[in-house]
Subunit: 195 residues, 2 copies
């Protein structure tokens, strides 16, 4: 056995982090940040508390790392169809967000946690503001391209509806007519614009 190289160590660290963050995201999303203990995360991740603190300075920092992934993922969805015309981009954004929501309820639960509890600490509220701004900048531009009379207002309304739909679907997925809501949004923000 040759000694492990720097790269190999880095790989192990990476895998460990991913494992921890996957579990943390799940627990934070379902139980909430404060109701989730480090012990629970460590236990479910199959590691010791000590090791967890080797990777993250504090529980707060672990939350930051996890929320970062949420931010990245959401901006990815928003900008997913960059090359299409504005109208098609909005439509795709609605469709893709809906599909993502169906398959990743806990993810969106954590997103809602970010929105709802962003003032837990400073870094979190900064991240929320950044995400909000990035989303708005991008989507306002799209509505402008579509010749909207009030692009800011429309972008805000679209975001607001995403939030409302996410909140309702995440809370009670069974009874909620997600696809119909999705179609309704396409009607309002895309179809009704023609003519």
């Amino acid at each position: 056995m040759s000694p492990r190289t720097k790269v190999q160590f880095e790989e192990i660290r990476q895998k460990s982090r991913e494992n921890i963050e996957k579990i943390a995201l799940e627990l934070f999303a379902i139980k909430g940040y404060h109701a989730t203990s480090i012990s629970q995360i460590a236990e479910k991740a199959g590691i010791s508390k000590g090791l967890l603190y080797n990777y993250y300075k504090s529980k707060e920092q672990l939350l930051d790392s996890v929320i970062m992934k949420v931010y990245d993922e959401i901006m990815r969805i928003v900008q997913m169809s960059e090359n299409l015309p504005a109208e098609k981009q909005i439509e795709q954004m609605i469709i893709q967000t809906t599909e993502h929501l169906k398959k990743n309820i806990t993810f969106w639960q954590l997103y809602l946690f970010l929105v709802h509890q962003s003032d837990v600490h400073k870094k979190l509220s900064e991240l929320y503001e950044k995400m909000r701004d990035d989303y708005l900048n991008y989507v306002v531009k799209l509505f402008k391209e579509m010749g909207s009379k009030n692009p800011t207002m429309e972008a805000l309304m679209l975001g607001t509806m995403f939030d409302g739909i996410g909140l309702n679907y995440v809370t009670a997925p069974e009874g909620y007519p997600l696809d119909e809501m999705s179609n309704y949004m396409i009607e309002i923000f895309v179809k009704n614009k023609k003519g």
Copy 2:
């Protein structure tokens, strides 16, 4: 000094409870349930921890009492204009909810906590479901009276928009165009129906 009567004792208890619940609502709403300790509530309410446990069996039960008030208040707003024609009722509901939101941000923060974290314990999720059902029953009926093609869907969409708007306004009241959103809702759910 004559000895205090039963009625007088009851009055004292009532006042104490109201005081405690007012503070608890505020702290639960701003910091979240788990991040708020009994000590903080007692301190801010100007009483001892011991007394608090004289009134409430547990922290969880205190939350239940506080959430109950939220439920009552929301149903009050929904049914506020009972005597008006359906169209006017919807319009008033939107206007009144908007005004209430402006003046009672912490209240709505706690409502959103109920929606978002209703599975903290069983009683809470039951209350959420009851509120949701009561709201839907009432509003679906209104949309039916207005001759809507899909009353359930419209009632759900209205509720969803309330949630989204509340979430956004509560999170960042400064930049959010609440009145414009309110007007937008009236356009969609009332004005566009005529003809």
